[in-house]
Subunit: 288 residues, 2 copies
């Protein structure tokens, strides 16, 4: 089903194409990305294909979600390869906004989501979700999709975007897509390409430790103890630091009291492996 | 041209009607209000009529833009009279969202506009524009107008909304409408109905003092001195307090250096008259 996607770099081009499709009654599914596309992204695109007549993928490495010292400059940019992959998936339009078209010198508006965006990632990347909320709002207003797809890999981000969309009454249906993993269970990430073979082997232990931890919580282990054990297991496996191992309520990401879980929850982990920060998460399927 | 406007109280009703009009290719002009409608509002509605096939007016007394101690409870609610006035203007739809549909218990998203929203009103009502930016964004996302009309009476608010819309890439054209005044030049305001005859006579001096001040600036007076003189004139006229008399750049509301103006500017005033806070503003037409 390879087609040649339209590549739009300006809002004018984008708007023209959108008007044509809307005029034909086509629904639009949108997958915002920062490029460096892998199978995880492509699984989102395939889901998007099922949801609407037209699929738009944006590629924009958003500076406002990187903190000073993070890998904004080093973040992989692979536009030609990305475009080929998207063509092979039958994407209709790739929107690659010109960097200086996104934030002009007079820009003065900030969006802050509380609740679900509190703690976890925010404890370690304090302005991350502010940057995500702003760029997602801008892209949504430019693309005006009916449906937008986000991966569960960034679970707190997905919850934050759901909150944002509901709170601001954006007429967009947000769909979460399951985490794509390699054959060893490592969650796919553009940052995995920073690893050599040895580091990759180490990184692949993260998911094993996480699923073990979730299973022990499902079997009735004390959640604080189980989380501590998982964090220790990560350090024992050679991870240089653990930002968090936390279990939260499934949808609102409420902090849960310690003890034994009595309702479905989500286990979320962030840890450092040879200079790369990895995040992962999984369901904890406790029966109500 | 009296028609019977549709009154929508739920998003479902609103969305259904919007879809029908959009399907017919009708453009939509939107005038958000807090009700208590006067000729000032109706002048916005008449401008809206010229801009689009369909005119929607919302009535919602937005709690998030009132601070504790302000007149949220006392703010006049006159829905029946408002509806009659809007019917006489040929408004197509009046959107009166149910109060509890606007902010639910899980609401966690805030919007903050800097720049133009800094100082002036914000010095005296620190969360006012946060409340305005949030409710306007929500109403825009619900109504999805092509055009929205705001009065220049709330000049800093108009500038803030222009900034918000540009920064978030909302596909909406914002139009400012001139200030409607009574025969004595008093800017029309829903809060004017708080005045008795004596207070009204006092309030009517505000615009005279303001226009005199602008004229002296146009003739080359030192702006700081002219502003001080105007503030003193207000106190001499019986105003109980002056929040600000300030000249700012016309569009970006930049604070101007003292001295003599050398480009078009805006003079903005807020002052207290017998328990009512009045604001007003006017152009200062200095030739470049």
């Amino acid at each position: 089903m390879t087609t040649t996607p339209i590549i739009s770099r300006t809002q004018r081009e984008l708007r023209g194409q959108l008007a044509e499709w809307r005029g034909s009654g086509d629904r639009i599914a949108f997958v915002p990305t920062m490029g460096a596309l892998h199978e995880g992204h492509l699984s989102l695109v395939r889901l998007a294909r099922k949801k609407a007549e037209r699929v738009i993928v944006s590629i924009f490495v958003n500076p406002t979600q990187f903190a000073p010292g993070e890998d904004l400059e080093a973040y992989p940019r692979t536009e030609a390869a990305d475009s080929e992959k998207l063509a092979a998936e039958g994407v209709d339009l790739i929107y690659i906004p010109l960097p200086n078209s996104m934030y002009n010198a007079h820009h003065a508006t900030a969006i802050k989501v509380g609740g679900v965006a509190t703690g976890l990632e925010t404890d370690h990347r304090p302005t991350f979700f502010d940057g995500v909320a702003l760029v997602v709002t801008k892209l949504f207003n430019r693309v005006q999709p009916d449906v937008a797809i986000f991966g569960e890999k960034d679970y707190q981000q997905l919850a934050t975007i759901r909150r944002l969309v509901e709170d601001l009454d954006m007429p967009i249906h947000i769909i979460g897509a399951p985490i794509a993993r390699d054959e060893y269970g490592l969650a796919l990430s553009s940052r995995n390409q920073y690893f050599n073979a040895q580091s990759l082997a180490k990184a692949r232990q993260l998911n094993t430790i996480m699923f073990d931890c979730a299973e022990s919580m499902e079997r009735g282990a004390n959640v604080d103890r189980a989380a501590e054990d998982a964090a220790q297991a990560l350090l024992d496996a050679g991870f240089s630091g653990v930002d968090y191992v936390q279990v939260r309520s499934k949808n609102s990401l409420t902090v849960l009291e310690g003890g034994v879980l009595n309702k479905p929850a989500r286990l979320l982990i962030a840890a450092h492996c040879d200079g790369v920060r990895l995040i992962d998460n999984c369901a904890v399927n406790v029966k109500k």
